[in-house]
Symmetry: C2
Subunit: 167 residues, 2 copies
């Protein structure tokens, strides 16, 4: 049994919940993913290994995994909720390429410290935060036709939380 499975089992038992074959499988599939998966994405993968599993169970199990500290919800602004690994995969932030959709994860201790300092100045107590930077990744900058296009006509793959060009 992996550490993750133990964490999950402990969470279930601690909450008076039950271990089921579906939950085991969903956790297993989730742990094998690398990307940021939506509930629907994961459902498609799980279905391949057990076609009898339904949407709802995947959806609810992802919430459970989040409660157990194994998963973490992330939203990139396209209206879909995605999940990423949370266990032994501590806080980080994201750069999201609006051209190819790729996400780059990064962590900066300086950034964290600076945020704490800003929060303190406002007497604000941080419990969580998200930083997302939208733009063009190295690959897409090289094949960079985007500079020549009328930006207002281009349909970004990821919808902005703030309009482009306001950083």
């Amino acid at each position: 049994m992996t550490e993750e499975q133990e964490v999950f089992l402990r969470h279930l038992q601690g909450s008076g919940l039950k271990r089921t074959a579906q939950r085991d499988l969903i956790l297993d599939v989730f742990l094998r993913t690398e990307e940021h998966m939506s509930s629907e994405d994961l459902y498609q993968l799980v279905k391949q290994e057990d076609p009898s599993i339904g949407h709802t169970t995947v959806y609810r199990t992802l919430k459970l995994l989040t409660d157990a500290g194994l998963a973490r919800e992330v939203r990139f602004g396209d209206g879909r909720t995605r999940y990423e690994h949370n266990y032994k995969h501590p806080h980080h932030d994201h750069m999201i390429c609006v051209e190819c959709g790729k996400t780059i994860e990064f962590f900066s201790a300086d950034l964290e410290k600076l945020q704490d300092r800003i929060a303190a100045k406002h007497k604000f107590e941080i419990t969580a935060h998200t930083l997302r930077m939208f733009g063009y990744c190295a690959d897409c900058r090289n094949s960079a036709e985007h500079r020549d296009n009328d930006l207002s006509a281009a349909e970004p793959r990821v919808r902005f939380d703030t309009a482009p060009g306001t950083s």
Copy 2:
């Protein structure tokens, strides 16, 4: 005519669009707001001054205002799109109190510089970014019963993009 109205008019003309009484009114109401308004919120306000205006027009006009650079979309993770002023109200980030829902806007040049440096390290070209810090504002910290509660039982008013406690 205010500067904002001129900007809007210029955008409309430049795009072959037309000025209408509805658009004028919606812009006017929007400019008088302070908060981060959802399309629905603004619709409620607009309806008080002209009950014949529909949802859809407000919704589409907010998109127009965004295109014109007068408004900016923001999402705090509760599944609703909100709009804030963009004209002469440059980029800033948000702290969001999970207790009372209040948002604090702030800007830090150091933060911007640090982000640019991080992006450069990954050869990433930023076009936009959002930083959101969730937690407890000064007021709510004073009336701070939240420390005594079982956090897992508390229903935060704002849903997290990352689980609490991962900063």
